[in-house]
C-alpha cells in the first residue's frame, strides 16, 4: 500500500501529516521523503542514516571517431539536448533527461553513457523503527525526477540492507515478494514535493492513494485542484486533509463536496500545534489525542484504496 501525501501549495502540512501517519502505521512501514529539493521529514522522524548512494542520469558521450553525423540522435531527442551541426555533435547536459534514446538509435554505436551525479539517496531507520529514505538533490541541479525515480525503487528489505540494491531492482523477485505481503503489512508513505509539476507526478505514479493536505484558503484550493487533476489522470483514489481548519473560507469544503472527494481529517488552526511543529515535534507527540485520529485516517485510507 503506497500512500502519497501531496498538496500542491507548499507549507500546508504535508510533512506534518506524513510523519504522524508513518508513526501510527505499525511495524512494516517505510517512509520516502520525495521532496528532494528540500527534504525535511528527517527533522521530525530523526532517522540514523546508514547508507548513502550517489544517483543521477546517464549522459551521452559521443565518440567522434565513430560518429558519421547522420543526425538520428538529434532527431530522436525530445529535449534537444543533442545537436548535430555539420561535422560536430554537441551534447547539452543541462537539457538531457537521461532517457537513453540517442544511444539506442545510433546506427554506429558511437554513443556511450556516463553517470552524471545529480544527488544522493540516504537511508536508515528511525528510533521508532520506521525504515526511512530520502533523496537529496544537489544544489543547482534542476532535475528532481531521476532522484525520485531511484528513491521509489527502495523498499523495506533493501533499506534494511538485508539484500543488495542490485537484487531488488531485478523485477521478478521483487514483485513476487510484494505480492506475498498484505497491504496492511507493507505500507509505504511518500512525502511529496510541493507544486504540481513533474516531480509531483513522479511521486504519485505507481501509488495506491493520494492524501492531499490543503488549507482552506484560495491558494490552498487553487493548487489542490491541480493535484486532484493529476491523481485522476493517474487513476488514484484521493482524500483530503484540511489543515489550519477555521481560517480562510468554505471553498475547499464546497469543492470537495462537488468533486466527490472525501475530507478525511481536519486539523484546526492552533498555536500549540504550530509551536510544537516549529520546535521539531511531530503532531502526535505534541497532541497525543491525534494518535487515535491518525489511526482512523490510516484505516480509512486502507479501506478506500483496497
Amino acid at each position: 500500500m503506497r500512500i502519497v501525501v501531496a498538496s500542491g501549495k507548499g507549507g500546508t502540512g504535508k510533512t506534518t501529516v506524513a510523519a504522524s501517519l508513518a508513526l501510527v502505521a505499525g511495524e512494516a512501514v517505510r517512509f520516502l521523503d520525495c521532496d528532494v529539493e528540500a527534504p525535511n521529514a528527517a527533522l521530525f522522524l530523526n532517522p540514523v542514516i546508514k547508507t548513502r548512494q550517489e544517483v543521477g542520469i546517464q549522459l551521452p558521450v559521443v565518440d567522434e571517431t565513430l560518429c558519421t553525423y547522420c543526425g538520428r540522435c538529434a532527431e530522436v531527442c525530445e529535449f534537444h539536448a543533442i545537436a548535430v551541426i555539420g561535422k560536430k555533435t554537441l551534447v547539452f547536459p543541462e537539457l538531457c533527461h537521461g532517457c537513453g534514446s540517442c544511444t539506442l538509435v545510433c546506427p554506429e554505436k558511437a554513443i556511450s553513457e556516463r553517470l552524471d551525479v545529480l544527488g544522493v539517496l540516504e537511508s536508515g531507520r528511525t528510533p521508532s523503527g520506521i525504515d526511512f529514505a530520502q533523496g537529496v538533490l544537489n544544489v543547482g541541479e534542476p532535475m528532481a525526477v531521476p532522484i525520485i525515480r531511484e528513491l521509489k525503487k527502495w523498499d523495506t528489505i533493501s533499506l534494511r540492507g538485508e539484500i543488495s540494491l542490485e537484487a531488488t531492482s531485478a523485477l521478478p523477485g521483487r514483485s513476487l515478494r510484494l505480492e506475498e505481503r498484505s497491504p496492511r503489512d507493507d505500507i509505504e508513505i511518500r512525502d511529496a514535493p510541493p507544486g504540481a509539476s513533474c516531480p509531483v507526478v513522479e511521486t504519485l505514479r505507481g501509488a495506491d492513494f493520494a492524501l492531499l493536505v490543503t488549507e482552506p484558503t484560495p491558494f490552498g484550493l487553487h493548487d489542490l485542484k491541480q493535484v486532484v487533476e493529476i491523481a485522476r489522470e493517474l487513476g488514484l483514489p484521493a482524500g483530503v486533509v484540511v489543515n489550519r481548519d477555521g481560517i480562510g473560507d468554505n471553498a475547499v469544503e464546497a469543492y470537495c463536496a462537488a468533486a466527490n472527494i472525501p475530507i478525511l481529517m481536519r486539523i484546526p488552526m492552533e498555536r500549540r500545534i504550530a509551536e510544537a511543529i516549529a520546535s521539531g515535534q511531530t503532531l502526535i507527540d505534541a497532541a497525543p489525542e491525534y494518535r487515535a485520529r491518525f489511526r482512523e485516517l490510516l484505516e480509512s485510507i486502507l479501506a478506500r484504496a483496497a
Binding site: A74, C77, E78, F79, H80, A81, A83, V84, I85, G86, K88, L90, F92, E94, L95, H97, P142, M143, A144, S197, C198
Partner: protein, 125 residues
C-alpha cells in the same frame, strides 16, 4: 550570403521578432539577389532546448548569418561551431524584416561573440 532573420509573420515586411529560440518564424534572405522565403520555427512550442533546435534549424536552412535580438548560451554554442554568424538588431523599436535587412546590408548591425543572456529553465519543468 544567406541570412536568417527572426520574424513574427511570414512575409518580408512582417515584424522583426527579437527572440531567437522562440521566434515565430525565420525569414531566409539571399542578400545579393533579395530572394527570400519564410520558415516556421519548429522550436516555437518546444518544452525545452528551443535555442538548440532553432539553431540547428537555421543551420540546416543554409543560413550563414542570423539576425535576432538575443542569443542564449545554448543557441550560441550551437550556432558558433556551425559557423553561423550572429548579429543583433535593435529590440526597442518596431522594425520589419525588410528594414532589419536594410540595416544589415548597410553594415549597421553588430555581431555578437558571446551569448547575450543567461539560459532559461532548460527542460526541468
Amino acid at each position: 550570403m544567406k541570412i536568417a532573420i527572426s520574424i513574427s509573420g511570414n512575409k518580408l515586411d512582417s515584424p522583426f521578432d527579437p527572440r531567437f529560440g522562440r521566434a515565430a518564424a525565420f525569414c531566409l534572405v539571399e542578400s545579393e539577389t533579395g530572394e527570400w522565403s519564410a520558415h516556421e520555427n519548429p522550436a516555437l512550442s518546444a518544452s525545452g532546448g528551443a535555442g538548440v533546435q532553432a539553431a540547428q534549424f537555421v543551420a540546416q536552412l543554409g543560413a550563414q548569418a542570423v539576425v535576432s535580438g538575443a542569443y542564449g548560451p545554448n543557441a550560441f554554442d550551437t550556432l558558433s561551431p556551425a559557423g553561423v554568424e550572429m548579429y543583433l538588431a535593435p529590440t526597442g523599436e518596431t522594425l520589419s524584416a525588410a528594414e532589419v535587412l536594410a540595416l544589415f546590408k548597410a553594415g549597421k548591425l553588430n555581431k555578437t561573440e558571446a551569448a547575450t543572456h543567461a539560459g532559461h529553465h532548460g527542460g526541468a519543468h
